[in-house]
């Protein structure tokens, strides 16, 4: 039984549609800007943040706020709703159907509400936000939230695949979303993980990550009407059992996840166009991934990271990056790693720095996160006969 993509959407500072986002990447556009004392924070950082006015206008145009339980939506709720709305609108499905499950991927959701004075404490609960989104579309199934640190977006897609393969539902709406707040930015800053310059994945002089905001949605289904041609073939999540905030030096968890998908997907390495990896541009992450990729026998495979365009979009990353990777293969292209200059990792890998052409139809996705988790999946474009 194949699990195929029915529709998708991206809401990001680079645009409010997949096409706008992809065209922006082709032009080398990045949403990263430098912020000094934003929200009063006593440090400078680089991030990809929504223009609030643009976002609000787009929200009011598209979302019927009379159908929401509260009129003052947070930025997180706005982008998650918009992204789900756009994917559902183009999918030709009835979102009220009991055969549809909503899955939300987010690390911190509405966390910014904790620092405000008058708020309903229930609105901070991720399950509550997921329910609000599902109810907006009239869906009464209990939604599920995946909150598995930075790999959440890919885990949510793997979970959707499992729900669909087991026959429990016909469609899964996978929404990945996170926004930035003093909470998240000062947390990453305290870990000394942030760069004040545009991030440089896998480069010798990389010095940290940039954070970004985005929401992205993919609707998966086992109901193939013949028009849908992207399949999520196989996925796995593995822990490296090493340290809660530092990846294994040997790349163990990522290697196990990669080996699993290479073994059980039925895909040959020769048929894979590229691997879109995590590539956050922190010294440890990129080093670990390079070792895992080499150990998995993927030294020649083109590798890219999209963090130089969007920053690390946390719970959205897995969904956003998979959509853009699909889009690039639809056009026969491999996107460059924005910000990459000269290789600065010990694993022997083939980082792509310029736009390339390909005639292959599969790609590999890799992510890793705090808590020692690592996730990988293989996606294939089904060819029409």
């Amino acid at each position: 039984m194949r699990v195929v993509k029915v529709s998708d959407s991206i809401i990001s500072p680079l645009g409010f549609s997949v096409e706008e986002n992809f065209d922006s990447l082709l032009r080398g556009g990045s949403a990263l800007r430098k912020y000094n004392r934003l929200w009063g924070l006593p440090f400078e950082f680089m991030a990809s943040i929504f223009d609030e006015e643009e976002l609000n206008n787009y929200f009011i145009e598209n979302i019927d706020i009379t159908k929401l339980p509260h009129s003052n939506c947070t930025k997180f709720e706005k982008i998650a709703l918009l992204s789900a709305f756009k994917a559902i609108s183009s999918a030709n499905i009835d979102p009220k159907s009991h055969r549809i499950l909503f899955i939300l991927s987010s690390t911190k959701g509405n966390i910014e509400l904790l620092s405000t004075s008058n708020f309903d404490p229930n609105r901070v609960l991720l399950g509550n936000t997921a329910q609000m989104i599902a109810r907006y579309f009239g869906n009464t199934n209990k939604p599920i939230v995946v909150s598995n640190a930075c790999i959440s977006g890919l885990c949510a897609q793997i979970e959707a695949m499992r729900f669909l393969k087991s026959g429990s539902y016909d469609f899964c709406v996978v929404i990945g979303a996170d926004v930035l707040s003093p909470f998240i930015v000062s947390g990453f800053n305290s870990l000394k993980a942030l760069s004040t310059e545009p991030c440089k994945p896998f480069s010798i002089n990389r010095n940290g990550l940039n954070l970004g905001e985005a929401a992205a949605t993919i609707i998966y289904s086992t109901v193939d009407d013949g028009k849908n041609n992207w399949e999520i073939v196989c996925g796995a999540t593995r822990n490296d059992a090493n340290h809660i905030s530092g990846p294994s030096r040997t790349g163990d968890g990522s290697l196990s996840a990669l080996n699993y998908v290479l073994q059980y997907s039925g895909c040959k390495i020769a048929d894979i166009a590229f691997a879109n990896v995590h590539g956050t541009a922190t010294p440890y992450n990129d080093e670990m991934e390079s070792i895992a990729l080499e150990r998995a026998g993927l030294s020649d495979l083109p590798i890219n990271s999209l963090k130089g365009f969007y920053g690390h979009t946390l719970g959205a990353a897995g969904v956003l990056e998979v959509i853009l990777s699909m889009c690039s293969l639809d056009k026969g292209k491999i996107l460059p790693t924005h910000g990459f200059d000269s290789l600065g990792v010990s694993g022997n890998i083939n980082v792509i720095s310029t736009l390339q052409e390909t005639n292959k139809h599969s790609f590999l996705k890799l992510l890793s996160g705090f808590g020692g988790c690592n996730s990988s999946a293989i996606f294939t474009k089904l060819r029409k006969l």
Binding site: K142, S186, L191, N239, H243, I244, S256
Partner: protein
Amino acid sequence: MKERNFLIKHSVKIEPNKVSLDGIDVLLSERYNTFLSDIYHEKRLAYPKFFKMDILCKVGFLATEILLEAENIERFVPRRDRSIIFCNKSSSVSTDLKFTHDILDLDNFYPKPSLFVYTLPNIVTGEIAIRNKYFGETNLFVMNDRDDNVISELVEHALMDEEINSVVGGWIDAESENDYEADLCIFEIKQ
């Protein structure tokens, strides 16, 4: 109830005044404030990292120590066939509130990296994987209300993985330092 593809080998439950194993009370206490460290000392656990953990991790660590001891097989040997699948409601809210407090006053701004890490609810799965050398899947799901059918389905999903034969999983929630619950099982795939 739908037939599942797993068997439950052992189960443990921790509440703020009680620990039960396989449905039988094994520890009772009125000392709510020190109950978790009392369990730690009672079990003679020599794992100083315990005292650095946040409330969710402490509850998860102690619950799995009791659960895995009951399994009565050699512990701490690397296992690639076991996953950790947890579900909860409150994410990491107790630690989130503490971290929010540390950044609220911009003139007295001291976010602690050691605290920030625990504002991810899946850290508890990582702590347990590290302790027990479990290299399978680790995953954390959040839902509005506990639903045992959904939990069973998620455990079954984890067992769809070709390399996974058992899951340590279930419900673990910590709304605050004094209001927590773990209800975990060892699930094994039916042969």
